[in-house]
């Protein structure tokens, strides 16, 4: 067995075990930590696929940003020691049937299909190429989605502030305006 095969099976074992634990664990903080393990192993897979930049983005944005945000909101809204009551038997059985059917169906389809790779030479994806094509209008340029995503991030930021802000009790706003 080659070294990278061993690495791949290690990462996949971690991903499969911990993603199942994430959705079945009865303690919410543990579920969040299991999710963190899944995301870090996914970054390892990206490194194996030779996408270093995306692996770094995965580690910083997902593992560093999103999981921390989720853990913060868990600490704000739940008691750590509190356990969920398990989902009802009927509900979990039917959900398991749906998930298993979907998984088996897609795995059978994947094993059945003949994938054909192009014969073109592989392109080296380094930081310079990524930066140039993000801001280029030529072929292989991605400036339109880049601009759209920046507007989306701005909108999301404004929305998050506007929603999470404590709404002032009615009547106070006009008085503060008068005082000014």
């Amino acid at each position: 067995m080659i070294a990278n095969q061993i690495m791949f099976f290690l990462f996949s074992a971690v991903i499969i075990v911990f993603s199942i634990l994430t959705v079945t664990s009865r303690k919410i903080l543990r579920a969040a930590v299991y999710l963190l393990f899944v995301l870090i192993s996914t970054a390892g897979l990206y490194f194996m696929l030779n996408y270093q930049f995306l692996a770094a983005v995965q580690l910083t944005v997902y593992a560093g940003g999103i999981v921390v945000l989720i853990i913060f909101s868990i600490l704000l809204t739940s008691h750590i020691s509190q356990k969920f009551e398990p989902a009802g038997l009927k509900k979990s059985v039917f959900s398991a049937i749906a998930a298993l059917t979907g998984a088996i169906l897609s795995i059978v389809t994947i094993l059945d299909y003949k994938f054909e790779a192009t014969t073109q030479a592989a392109k080296e994806v380094d930081m310079k190429v990524i930066g140039k094509s993000l801001l280029s209008v030529e072929n292989d340029g991605y400036i339109l989605p880049f601009e759209v995503i920046s507007v989306l991030l701005l909108a999301a930021m404004v929305a998050a502030i506007a929603i999470a802000k404590k709404s002032a009790p009615s009547g106070t706003q006009s008085t503060t305006l008068k005082q000014e």
Binding site: I2, N4, I16, V23, N50, T118, S133, I149
Partner: protein, 105 residues
């Protein structure tokens, strides 16, 4: 580079991850755990994009940029979702989806 690891292994791994996310989405009742299941689903889709890009079209970069944008959208989605969850918690002091039913007629 990836000697001995066929493309199918990546796809099967992503399928298992996706459907465990679907299972969590269907069974969980806490809003934050539902959000975590959605993260699992998005992440498995990213693995698929990158594996297809590397194995089938190594001369292009579309898969990589698509997953980059998926990551950005997921970050925005989590920020808005958590602000909504915190607002719900303020009003109802619970984030259990079955207790938050004020807008049901």
């Amino acid at each position: 580079m990836n000697a001995g690891i066929p493309l199918q292994y990546f796809l099967i791994l992503a399928a298992i991850m996706f459907f465990s996310g679907v299972y969590g989405f269907l069974t969980r009742r806490n809003l934050i755990t539902i959000l975590m299941s959605v993260e699992l689903i998005l992440n498995s889709v990213n693995i698929n994009f990158l594996a297809f890009n590397r194995y089938l079209y190594p001369d292009k970069m579309d898969g990589m940029f698509f997953s980059l944008f998926v990551i950005a959208v997921a970050a925005a989605e989590v920020a808005v979702a958590i602000s909504i969850i915190i607002n719900i918690y303020r009003r109802f002091t619970t984030i259990n989806v079955e207790d938050v039913d004020e807008m049901k007629y």
